[in-house]
Symmetry: C2
Subunit: 287 residues, 2 copies
């Protein structure tokens, strides 16, 4: 099996590792806009060979793992170039814009829109890690717009990776990830910004950072190149999510200002439910 | 050496484990307002024996590890009861109120105000873990108000735990932790609340939770009994921190609304600095 990975960063590089573990005899090609990333991906053995975009017609599967604004530019071109039975899939965090763009593309049937709920705060080929995709949830949008034989090829890969498949339309997908993924990144980036602005003496102050701060601010280390276009593409949903978040913060601030211990305790207790919700989910994912 | 632990939860229980590892021959007593916690602490072997508050005069060291509102009620009473050379220290997350309260207590010299930057999102005796205190930062306030011999006793323990000692006055301490610790908890609790409110179908939606959401929302699992009084005692500083956080969120929302890619990318890039700051700190802490 021949796989080409367009974009050799965290998502593409990690997919190379996981794909090779389920298909050891496969040949993995790669390309990246950055010559340095290409070199690192070769040095690390993530890919076997570099490939030029014009040669992409020679492979069986194409993974597009680049920032979501760049996907809008390159995916139509890739679809123009591929063979009739080639699977092309992306792993972007927004699904509305790409599905709209490719809606009436002549090769729409070759494309599968996916969003694996997987990642870390790091980026680039050196961020690639084994098992990033194993046992994770993978959201698939507009399954029926993909040719069934080509879809089966993708599904087999995801099943071998033991992924938990969820089917969702692009618009509800973008609403839900605005809350469960994108807002987490916003809250973390703004926590980092607020603390950096306050604490001019970084050395002194960051000695104070316990594990709580570290985990809450972790996502603020994420790549701006990846996240800027995600936030902008999901602007409509994300702005509403941020407004609801701000409204909850304002409400809590008032409750604290008024020394309302009962009100405060009630909110914290209700929110503790996140513990059971996430535990249930984890147990079910492990099944 | 005889240690009494008042409050047998995460902080007290974990201290019992770490104290026993550095003083294997010590005798550890415990008491808790909850009979269940007392039983669990005995069952788990965290403590050797229960002790009544009236008998506290028989021990060498008293750790007070209870919610910060309860500390204000019990610490003066404990100081009234202890012997002249007993060390009493607390591990609360606010230092202003307790230092003010005990300012002119006749036994002020026996008390040391400390705040170890250590913890997890769990609570109760079963949350106790080994090595919670090892290699962590410990903030000590008003060192000079503690008798030097008694202070040395405390310092020896912290040094055996390889803690990184920082000296800070109570008021600056409370300002700094408002940002680096308390605001993290607020941002996490409100993220959890916003997502729970939006996502009525918990099962469906929490399948979407990737590791990013999990780490950002982790602190929302924390004990309301612990955190309600912390937020209220640090109200003055925390309200300002929340306002600055909201202001940054509003600003980012505007930038996203206006499709300002350059402005957004600049903010994310500047905030990425948190990566180097936290890495530097970790490396230095490991020295």
């Amino acid at each position: 099996m021949k796989l080409a990975i367009v974009g050799l960063g965290l998502m593409g590089g990690s997919f190379a590792l996981d794909f090779r573990s389920i298909y050891p005899k496969s040949k993995i090609y790669g390309l990246d806009i950055s010559k340095e990333n290409q070199k690192h991906a070769m040095d690390l053995g993530l890919i076997d060979e570099l490939i030029e975009i014009e040669k992409i017609s020679t492979v069986d599967i194409v993974l597009v793992s680049i920032p979501v604004d760049k996907s809008l530019l390159i995916l139509p071109k890739i679809l123009d170039l591929i063979c009739d039975d080639t699977l092309v899939f992306d792993v972007g965090s927004t699904k509305g814009p790409i599905c709209k763009l490719l809606f009436d593309h002549p090769k729409r049937e070759n494309f599968l829109a996916t969003h694996p709920m997987a990642g870390t705060e790091f980026s680039g080929p050196y961020a690639a890690v084994k098992n990033l995709y194993f046992n994770k949830t993978n959201i698939i949008c507009e399954k029926n717009k993909t040719n069934s034989k080509i879809f089966e090829k993708a599904l087999k890969i995801f099943q071998l990776l033991n992924m938990n498949i969820l089917y969702m339309n692009p618009d509800p997908h973008d609403v839900h990830v605005a809350y469960v993924s994108h807002l987490s990144h916003i809250s973390s980036f703004m926590l980092g910004k607020t603390v950096i602005e306050k604490e001019k003496n970084e050395k002194n102050i960051f000695n104070l950072a316990g594990s709580g701060f570290e985990s809450t601010v972790r996502l603020a280390k994420s790549s701006p190149e990846t996240w800027t276009p995600i936030f902008l593409q999901n602007k409509k949903n994300l702005v509403i999510a941020i407004e609801e978040y701000i409204s909850n913060l304002n409400n809590l601030k008032e409750i604290i200002s008024k020394n309302n211990a009962n009100g405060l305790s009630l909110i914290l207790n209700n929110t503790n439910r996140i513990k059971e919700i996430l535990t249930t989910t984890n147990i079910e994912n492990e099944k």
